[in-house]
Subunit: 264 residues, 3 copies
């Protein structure tokens, strides 16, 4: 599988998919830059009037509820409907699932609209599956990704979506495979929006790679390895945020394969 | 007092308070990163439907009117009411006070809802106290912090809040103390949102430290010293913004105490 | 003309115009920092209630439709009306022109409100002029700036605005001059919001320099040269974004004139 993963990364670079992001205010700049760095093209847009037209020119969609409100929830529904009609894959990032009843109601509705993939931290995946073994601490996770594997399997079966649990170990769960990635660095948890960037990168990969589970592994490995390499030479979370963008852009096959720590 | 200040910094690192931010679009990313860097957890949220629930899981609240509109003003009121009910402290950052009548009306209402602390630049503090000796220049200050001490004392008495004037000299005014901090660096005025980060950091400290005036001194000293140290080795405002996040995360007791320039 | 361009840069540094930005969520932080770096003062504001008052204290206005919705479109109209009344120049950045019918309708209306300058990439300028020789790819350009010169001339005649086409070669088109700038670096296209910063910088220059075409050349040259110099020593798009802010702040007359590659 290792060589295939790198091929997927080059496919994104060559095909440069256009990814429509309905995401939160906190991470928009970094998410757009992460997409540009991997060779994709970002567009951020939420006006009800243009959700259908946007999905006609875009190749995929990210729905991230980080700073949701009712206007944006309506935008999400309009964009998802258009994405589904155009057979554009869409990714759900359930930021802060379990934090408030409002988020959970919105997520219940979104889950039924057939995301191709769901990516969250362990607390969020547990909350989505209503495995209430954990308490969400805002948008950070208080659980380990390994604790959420059953919840991920449940979501995968129930909604037929690839599920990615981000954490010290990233876990990718689909019908076909269950993969653990032991890349990344703890300092990545001290930067806001790493997970949001991971979801957007995922949407770029899913736009151009038909094998969705493999695409999810490649996308997840890419950002985790970029973070791991960058963390070695940075001075803290500020410079890590900057270096990850540099590394997403410059990473070579050798670097990628040398660092990849995959269990399947 | 010096040793106490460092203890407060370690308390925040250990207890990692969850801070609810209703803040402006410009600074959300940096504010979230500043909170993560000091060891706190940020959440940004403004949906009316979740203001009450958010304050049930959060430890404090920041209200920053930088890019206000009527929807967000209503969010602020809902969140403050819930914070007050839960005895969560909340901080007011009156960005651009005095710039428009709309801001001043909104601020008049917010002031009456009992912020535990108010942090602004001299122009904003003067405008809040209706000491119209100054003209606001957008969100930058045209007055010196020392010119605003009377206004700060007035606000402290009137609203029973700790008042922090940011500037070349930072001034903290409470019932119990009046402290001047001569830290920081002029280049910090060339980065947007330094004050906004200071207010959010303040909310993190107030969440876990009962002595609110001391908490304000510690929070203010932390960001000013981080900026001062970072400015020495950076190449301009872009790299300073990055380095401050690194330094907020890595600063040691020795560094902090060595640089602290406090008058009380 | 070369010496005049540097004079314009120092004029902005000395007069520090206050620029009102109605811009998109993605770039707000960087745009504010770019304005601070060149010596101007930014304010971001969109509340209907304060558009008139804001234009009374500001010196110019940027209208950027990157993440528009109906509320913000109304803000734009209110601010433009107030700007025109106060004889404050305003700049139009037609982000994603041609991407959706909604954007094109909004842009049709805005064009008629007399922007002093219009800045976009080639795809956007072609779409604005309804020269449908190109397809917009989200917010990136698929056309070369040289392909859009006729469209720029048409827009200049039709709306009496200076038109700036950003690209590998930047082209400035006005009644009086037509200038090509061969500065910049390809890596700048891998950072989000470079064009948005260019538009905001343009608004700062137009606020204090009566010769609008020359102001446009100076503003465009400044960011392109800052990018070109920064690209030489950066490690990728993340560090380039940071370095450009440093260089906008520190650039000297010697550096500027040495790098300037102008054809007129």
């Amino acid at each position: 599988m290792k060589e295939k993963l790198w091929n997927h990364i080059t496919t994104v670079r060559k095909q440069s998919p256009l990814v429509h992001n309905i995401t939160n205010y906190v991470v928009m700049n970094n998410t757009a830059n992460a997409l540009l760095a991997i060779g994709a093209s970002p567009i951020m847009s939420h006006a009800h009037e243009e959700m259908v037209a946007m999905q006609q020119i875009c190749n995929s969609l990210v729905i991230n509820i980080g700073t949701l409100d009712t206007y944006w929830v309506k935008s999400m529904h309009l964009a998802i409907e258009a994405a589904n009609k155009n057979k554009n894959p869409w990714v759900l990032d359930p930021v802060g699932a379990g934090a408030t009843p409002f988020r959970d109601e919105v997520l219940s509705e979104l889950l039924n609209l057939k995301p191709i993939a769901i990516r969250g931290n362990a607390s969020e995946i547990l909350a989505l599956a209503k495995h209430n073994k954990t308490q969400t601490k805002g948008v950070d996770s208080t659980a380990s990704s390994l604790d959420a594997i059953d919840a991920a399997r449940f979501l995968n079966k129930q909604y037929n979506a690839v599920v990615i649990i981000s954490g010290e170990t990233d876990v990718i769960v689909s019908d076909e495979l269950e993969v653990k990635l032991n890349n990344g660095n703890l300092l990545m948890t001290k930067i806001t929006g790493m997970g949001c960037s991971a979801s957007a990168i995922l949407a770029a990969f899913l736009a151009v790679i038909p094998e969705s589970a493999e695409a999810a592994v490649a996308a997840t490995a890419l950002i985790s390895i970029a973070g791991e390499i960058s963390a070695k030479s940075c001075d803290g979370p500020g410079s890590l945020q900057v270096s990850i963008l540099d590394k997403l852009h410059s990473i070579t096959e050798n670097e990628f394969l040398k660092h990849l720590k995959i269990e399947n």
